[in-house]
């Protein structure tokens, strides 16, 4: 069932944030969070293409066991730069910097974020960091793996390690400033009546993500700083010949990089928590539990980093403790999944594209998350650590989870961002293509891992070929699934059907203002008197609420203001 209402064609509002001012300076010097979000959209999409290009090279090369396309050194650069571009320059910023920036002030009822100029600064920092990394990519490339393990990265690699490390270091500050901005905004900029427990779960998710960003990112900064110093000046912290310890690098690196994966997934979970209530027209089951689970993931996520190091020869007791904590961190994600599923029961479900992405997320995150249990189990990890099983696991979560969440969110909020709808049927087809292509690409990699194929291999024994070919075939389908939205979303931004204020309709504050919004978001500061996702007490949505159902119109506020 489609959501769109029929009726006379709508008009775009006369004045909105896109036409408020013109010229390149008005974009490059903007402090409007919505324009900054679009600046980020352009830059993360650019890096997505870069990372995607490297992915294509990897999969083409791996069609044959003997690796005829690239030299070993070139292949090693391909997988490294694919990882660096995708992790640091696409996945970590994507949802927070694009959707978070755009929506959080709207969702809390504010005119902008707490620190608009710092927001713009964060984008420039991202760009500068990106430029350093691009410089590295074209001037010798990088072949250390995105994990930069020492002493290979500091002493042995013949690639452009220092500029890449400096680039990632710089971009980390973009992340820190974004997190800082979100935390303060949620604390001090909520509109009257918008109590903590009336906040959309998208905001809770970004709050939790921001905690991780500000606590974790400084640690990778200092770690990469030390590694760069070591490479350039020959300090010895990670060099065994000078008394240093390569494993110290791994501890410092993973202390951030594990929580970083929660930076990547929590915002996507936040998107899903918006999509499902909207397209099931039902409040999210267990709101408080889902909010608490987001915070729990953020906190416990800091306590599991050594599960990346079970086989480095470290203390057995430490490994046991970290494995235990790893299983504990899985529980809040399970709780969320059950709550999302329960929301569907008794709902009124439509299958618009964003909802298709939400369903895709549920299935793929389920597989990705559950396969984490195999890796967290010490006895099994001995066998599958550093094999393609790991590669498949994290792609299921990051691509099947985070990217699906990102695309679902882009589609869902595209009418708010641009004022126009994307073409629905084409979008649904693209979503299916993506889902099918994704599974063909990455499911065979679980099998490769079980069979024993290690990761980061430019050549492999011939018995692994069939699954590699399957994976590459899937990747070509996946690529189409990605290209289609890029094309039609761009087209729709200019020529799509005008959407109106609330096309779905959905319950968030962002839908109570024109599409696209004014620069100052709201004509008058909204006053909130309803709970999140409360379809039964929102006559303004124009839906058929059965009489006698629902709570009183003004729900008592609980939580602080």
């Amino acid at each position: 069932m489609r959501t769109q209402t029929t009726g006379p064609a709508l008009q775009l509002p006369e004045k909105h944030y896109l036409n408020a001012t013109y010229g390149i300076r008005s974009w490059l010097l903007t402090t409007d969070h919505k324009r900054i979000a679009l600046l980020y959209l352009a830059s993360v999409t650019f890096f997505f293409f870069i990372g995607g290009f490297f992915a294509m090279m990897i999969r083409l090369h791996l069609l044959t066991p003997n690796g005829l396309l690239l030299t070993p050194d070139m292949y090693n650069r391909m997988f490294t730069m694919h990882g660096v571009a995708m992790v640091f320059f696409f996945l970590i910023p994507s949802i927070p910097a694009v959707l978070g920036n755009f929506l959080i002030p709207l969702m809390v009822g504010a005119k902008d974020l707490a620190f608009p100029k710092i927001n713009l600064l964060s984008w420039y920092i991202y760009v500068v960091g990106g430029l350093f990394t691009l410089w590295s990519m074209v001037n010798g490339g990088l072949d250390t793996g995105w994990t930069f393990y020492t002493p290979f990265s500091t002493l042995y690699s013949n690639s452009a390690v220092a500029p890449a490390v400096v680039g990632v270091f710089i971009t980390g500050f973009s992340s820190i400033l974004t997190g800082l901005n979100f935390l303060v905004t949620v604390h001090t900029m909520r509109a009257p009546g918008m109590t903590w427990f009336r906040l959309p779960l998208f905001v809770w998710a970004h709050y939790a993500t921001s905690i991780v960003m500000i606590l974790g990112t400084p640690v990778i900064a200092i770690t990469l700083g030390l590694a760069a110093m070591e490479r350039v000046f020959g300090l010895g912290f990670f060099n065994p010949a000078m008394g240093g310890d390569p494993i110290l690098f791994q501890h410092l690196f993973w202390f951030y990089s594990h929580p970083a994966v929660y930076i990547m997934i929590l915002p996507a979970m936040g998107v899903i928590s918006e999509l499902i209530p909207t397209f099931a027209r039902k409040r999210l089951f267990g709101y408080h539990f889902v909010a608490a689970a987001s915070l729990a993931i953020a906190v416990i996520g800091f306590l599991v980093w050594t599960h990346h190091m079970f086989l480095t020869g470290q203390s057995t007791y430490a490994a046991v403790a970290f494995s235990f904590l790893t299983f504990i961190v899985a529980i809040p994600s399970a709780i969320k999944t059950f709550n999302w599923t329960a929301t569907l029961f008794g709902g009124s479900i439509s299958f618009d594209t964003p909802m298709l992405y939400a369903f895709g997320f549920l299935g793929l995150f389920l597989i990705g998350g559950l396969t984490g249990l195999f890796l967290g189990a010490l006895g099994v990890d001995i066998n599958i650590h550093d094999t393609y099983f790991v590669v498949a696991h994290f792609h299921y979560i990051m691509v099947g989870g985070a990217v699906m969440g990102y695309l679902g969110g882009l589609h869902f909020w595209w009418p708010k961002i641009t004022g126009r709808m994307y073409p629905e049927w084409l979008a649904r087809i693209a979503a299916f293509i993506l889902f099918i292509g994704f599974n063909f690409t990455f499911f065979p990699q679980f099998i490769l891992g079980i069979m024993g194929m290690p990761r980061r291999y430019h050549m492999y024994p011939p018995e692994f070929q069939i699954y590699n070919v399957m994976s590459t075939a899937g990747a070509s389908i996946l690529a189409i699934g990605y290209l289609l939205p890029m094309v039609y979303l761009t087209w729709a931004a200019f020529y799509g059907k005008v959407a109106g204020e609330n096309p779905w309709p959905s319950t968030g504050l962002e839908w109570k203002t024109q599409s696209p919004p004014l620069t100052e978001n709201f004509e008058e500061t909204p006053v909130v008197t309803w709970e999140a996702y409360d379809f039964h007490n929102r006559p303004d949505l124009g839906l058929d609420v059965p009489s006698g159902k629902g709570s009183p119109v003004v729900a008592p506020a609980h939580g602080d203001d």
Partner: protein, 245 residues
Amino acid sequence: MHRTGALYGQFKTLEQQKDTATLGMWIFLVTEVMFFGGIMLAYTINRHTYFHAFAMGSNTLSLGLGGFNTVVLLASSFTMAMAVWSAQTSRKKLITLFLSLTILLGFVFFGVKYVEYAQKFHHHLVPGKNFDIFYCVNNPAKCDDIDAADMAKEKEEIEAAAKADPDLNAHAQLYYSAYFGMTGLHALHMVIGAGLLFWLLKESVAGKFNAEWNNPVDIVGLYWHFVDIVWIYLFPLLYLIDRHK
């Protein structure tokens, strides 16, 4: 650029603006704790593993200069707090005075740091090709800024340390990498702090701060106190642990 004391567009009230800026500064300081924490962790682990070399490193630092700098920074935190108080009580001339004193003390700190760094350079204690922990002991004439009694003590200590740790030079270089890394990072933060203080000074001369609006003084104060606290950690970690003298 908005005038100081003006209400920025995204806020409803000056009160909200103040609360927001203050919370922002506190969260930023948390990130700084994590940033310094990483290198302090690396230092602490290595201190534990190579305690002979690191003890030797600590002993080559001047307790007098380090102690003096500690007092200087504590005093600067005091003058900073006085500046905040002056702003809160609308004592405009005093704000300028105390900010100036804080900046002055900051520069005294830099001066002493310069002397210390120059000494390290002179003594071949900067990590790199020329690093040599034995340099002064082997070339006392070149290290004429160390008096004879101290030189004898250092010779004794370094010989004991070298017996205990045959790789003394490599491990001492780790100490010095950490020393320059941590104090350098700290100094960089102080330079930024000094810049912020100069801006505050300019604004205070223009009479912008009073009991109604003194938030910038307050939050720069927070930053300055944090930089001071980092030094309070660095001083014992680098100068005092395992000190023999």
